[in-house]
Amino acid sequence: MSKQLLPGLAIEKVDDRIMTLNIGPQHPGSGHMRIIVKVDGDYIVHCDPDPGYVHRGEEKMAEYRNYITNIPHLERPVIHDSCNILYPYCLGVEELLGLEVPERAKYLRVIAAELNRCVYIEYWLAIYGIFLGHSTMFMWPVGDRELLIDLLEKMTGARVTHAYFVPGGIRNDVPPNFEDVCLRQINYFEKRLKEYAAVFYDNPILISRTKDTGVLSREDAIKLGTTGSVLRASGVDFDIRKKEPYDVYEELDFQTNVLKEGDSYARSKIPWLDMFESCRIIRDALQKMPKSGSVRVKLKPKPKGGDTEVYRRVESGRGSLGFHIVSDGKPQPYRIKISVPSFRNLIAMPHLLTGEKLGNMPAVYWSLNYWPVEADR
């Protein structure tokens, strides 16, 4: 046995300095996913996201059920945004079956989708707030979210998992006084949103933690194929509602929000700005909506698609959400692929976290508008 050096004289090797950390899947800061990071002191030198802890095989399940019984389970990947995840599915099935949606249903769909977008963003904002140590920003959005959930409950009968959209329209019409209640709540909600600026977005602590952290350049955002708020915070003006309008978005008055900075602050601000636009859309839709009429076309039991395929996408709370539906003429789809924005934005995570300080991880991670359950499907 060779003689050991005195402990104080041993020279540290580079490998000894690098430490591997498992963040998640139980850690509250990661959501239901694991991020394997290698750190050198305070800095992340390597990052390997490991999703899959909430994988439920939605795509496989969809092959066993017909187009109608697929509805309730396909919204499960992101129950806070359940209208928007069913939206491209319904558009796709309508294209397969050749259905024409009644005019009133189109407007009600837009209203439900926008309300749901706000519900999702509020929930996300609450989590973003709490992980930056801002507990007021947890309480406020969760409280205000209740207003919209009440509205959605009036519309759909369920607080969170609505299963409201069906191929050919929506499940049921809204109650008679819905329009007045909706308008009142939306106006109040918008007033509340403005107050977030003083407590959160103009807060010097938030700004110092998120400004210039995790900067994603315009070129990288395009190359990595990111979508939604991540893409628009990097200066690319791409919103499916404007670029490929579905249902009645073409007739409604709104704008898309684009920021050029590409840092965590810009990424956290875009969803908040989007909520103002959602309020605008809802008000406009309530005004232009036909006051009566049918909301759903009657379907045959177990409708069959042709021998073809469709790809339809919508702008969800996190970005472009696409459904690739392959049909072989049976009542069940042959294959459904859900291209979810969270999964598409996941690739930006190792790109942004490498070289960043470990303490900045929550600020960067949650700014990606990432929903682990949706990414896993």
Binding site: F238, K300, S339
Partner: protein, 180 residues
């Protein structure tokens, strides 16, 4: 929602007018490559079937000449009767305003083995990761779900499935959910 009412489903006319741009896009691809098949040209949706040997050339052409810059989705579809597995890349463009609505589906097929050994059998395709970096995670998902190994992808590892998954790739048609 399966209503007992048996009203006939009204089929909308499928052969609506194809915009010129869609036509010119598909023409420029078929002019450049003789060996490919334009499966359909619908409004804003084009599908191109290519052989797997050619897919990198076609993808590079689509990126450089037609300005498609990212992949929206990569779906693997299993066809046991044809003994083939198909991989469809849905490509879109953020930079070219005229292509905003367009999705170009680039599809290719590879051999399907009845007893799969993912990574060690002939179910292989060239990876498009060097052409479109955005496909990296999608291809990893396709590898574990259908057992298609992507040559040239540096990271053909499990992504969503558990590490100890010992069954066949679950999105193949011969894998069935228990009890169904």
């Amino acid at each position: 929602m399966s209503s007992a009412d048996s009203t006939e489903i009204v089929k909308t006319d499928d052969s609506s007018i194809i915009p010129d741009l869609d036509k010119s896009l598909s023409d420029s691809i078929s002019k450049k490559f003789s060996n490919i098949e334009i499966a359909y040209v619908k409004p804003d949706r084009i599908r191109v079937n290519v052989k797997k040997e050619e897919i990198i050339d076609v993808a590079t052409f689509i990126r450089d000449e037609l300005n498609f810059d990212h992949a929206e989705s990569v779906s693997g579809v299993d066809y046991p009767e044809d003994k083939q597995i198909e991989v469809v890349y849905h490509l879109g463009s953020y930079t070219d305003v005229s292509l905003d609505k367009k999705i170009l589906a680039l599809a290719t097929r590879t051999l399907r083995e009845d007893t799969p050994h993912p990574g060690n059998d002939n179910t292989k395709l060239p990876s498009l990761r060097d052409v479109f970096p955005s496909v990296s995670f999608h291809e990893r998902e396709c590898f574990e779900m259908l057992g298609v190994y992507f040559d040239g992808h540096p990271d053909n590892r499990r992504l969503l499935l558990p590490e100890d998954w010992a069954d066949i790739p679950p999105l193949r048609k011969d894998f069935s959910i228990k009890g169904r």
